[in-house]
């Protein structure tokens, strides 16, 4: 049985935050939810974590003690130390303190937080706080781990520590769903769901999304006219929806950009 959600609709007043969105979160895999500000990522993750009820649609999730959730607000208590945050979390999940501490110690070590154990969470750097949030969410060995933009604005060194934690959770058999604005991160994930204004823009493995891109990509050194051109790698790329062969082999960033342009052109 795979965790996930089917055909979710969520409305905030007249705004449709999620418009018939489905996602699968298989055990032992990392699933990425990608999109910009306002795409619906957080709403979908809140539904998966059980923090919000959809208007229609179903969520498949384990019992709530088997769900780890890191909200985008980092999910740690700024007035508690690193150790106190983790102890508090362990108590909330009714874990034995010594066993939880032992489990946390390895994560803290790998994430480079051991030295910071006695510091207040509010005094940690943004990246350290995010790592603490992920460790806290992983502590009860959840079957489903839901992480809302754990790496946004985090520097590359902390990002690498975070990705170690994420990979470790998946290697332990957990189903991980994470929201990100970075497509190079999405490319590391087993499957990807791209959201735009509450709708699914693309979904599948990275390779499937690339293969599903209609047309082909042409290159140009000068800005071509029209909405189908964008800047990438110091040059221009142009999407020709009818071409069969192009100058570039598209990657995930290209495929997602094309999907966004196709939507823009249609509307």
């Amino acid at each position: 049985m795979s965790w996930g959600a089917d055909d979710l609709v969520v409305r905030y007043g007249k705004t449709v935050a999620l418009d018939h969105v489905s996602v699968d979160a298989p055990a032992g895999e990392v699933t990425a939810v990608v999109g910009g500000d306002g795409a619906g990522k957080s709403t979908l993750l809140r539904c998966l974590a059980g923090a919000q009820a959809p208007a229609t649609g179903t969520v498949r999730r384990p019992a709530k003690e088997a769900v780890g959730y890191l909200p985008s607000s980092t999910g740690v208590y700024p007035d508690l130390t690193v150790t106190e945050n983790l102890d508090f979390r362990a108590t909330g999940y009714r874990l034995a303190r010594s066993a939880a501490r032992e489990r946390a110690a390895e994560y803290l070590e790998q994430a480079g937080l051991t030295e910071a154990s006695d510091r207040l969470a509010g005094q940690l750097s943004g990246g350290m706080r995010c790592k603490l949030g992920v460790i806290a969410a992983m502590l009860p060995k959840p079957q489903l781990l839901v992480l809302d933009e754990p790496t946004t604005g985090v520097d590359p060194v902390s990002r690498s520590g975070l990705w170690w934690l994420i990979a470790r959770a998946a290697a332990e058999g957990c189903a991980v769903v994470l929201a990100t604005t970075y497509l190079d991160e999405a490319e590391r994930c087993a499957s990807v769901l791209v959201l735009d204004e509450g709708k699914v823009l693309a979904t599948g493995t990275s390779d499937e999304i690339i293969a599903a891109m209609p047309g082909a990509l042409l290159g140009s050194t000068a800005r071509p006219d029209g909405p189908r051109a964008w800047r990438r790698g110091g040059q221009w790329r142009v999407w020709d929806p009818d071409a069969t062969a192009g100058d570039f082999q598209p990657d995930l960033t290209d495929a997602v950009t094309v999907a966004a342009i196709a939507k823009e052109v249609r509307s």
Partner: protein, 287 residues
Amino acid sequence: MSPLARLTGVTKKFGEFTAVKDVDLNVEPGEIVGLLGANGAGKTTVIKMLLGLIGTTAGTVELFGQPPSRQTRRRLGYVPQSLGLYDDLTTMENLEFSAAAFGGKPGVKDTAIPDAIKQYGKDLIGALPLGVQRRVAFAQALEHEPDLLILDEPTSGVDPLGRARLWETIAGAAQAGAGVLVTTHYMEEASECSRLVIMAGGAVVAAGTAQEIIGTSQAVVVLAQSWADAFGRLEDAGLPVSLAGRGVRVPGARSEDVQRALGDLPAVVQDVPATLEERFFELVQGS
């Protein structure tokens, strides 16, 4: 022609702490220089010295051939990470305020207002989506046609198409002759820059194009039936393993060592060139 910005042997200490150590950095007209580094690497301190907000402990900072001052600030456009807009003013009021502060003619040049933000002219900034706010911040920084543009994490939290559009604006300014200094955490964006400068621990640890910086650095890609098993074995062997789709990558390792760590686990092991991000870690850890 002299560079727009020149740091020569710049050191900055805060008490006992050395935030910036003997840094040389130039920005020439028409080029986009990417300043990369982890938190605490010294990027923000470098920007503050360029803006003239703080002085140096040693070395010299020159903007347009002179020390930073209010006069040099006039020729400079700056987009801070926090965007630097007033939430309680409308889009137009923000633009007018900034134009007035830069001492231009009254009002905002119509050509300085991109079509994408025109419809939001009378809306309060605080009520607009972050993507629109970001475009306003760019318009504000570009209105007085600066010779040097300084951007601190300009695309954090932006979707890929939005990011491409922002880079179009940045490249447009460079093409018109402005120099650009941009910090980013996002290595993918390094390819938009003419040149990169990587800082770690306050010092410059590498400079050049992405290709020059990566050089001959390599990584090993492992594709196994179960990536989790491969991950576990490589990790037990103390190798710096990371997730990559349905496989794993081991930056900076030799394929023999990876093969040995995998033991009898069936897997395809392949040497590939390192990514800029992987090379970045080598540099940062080596410093």
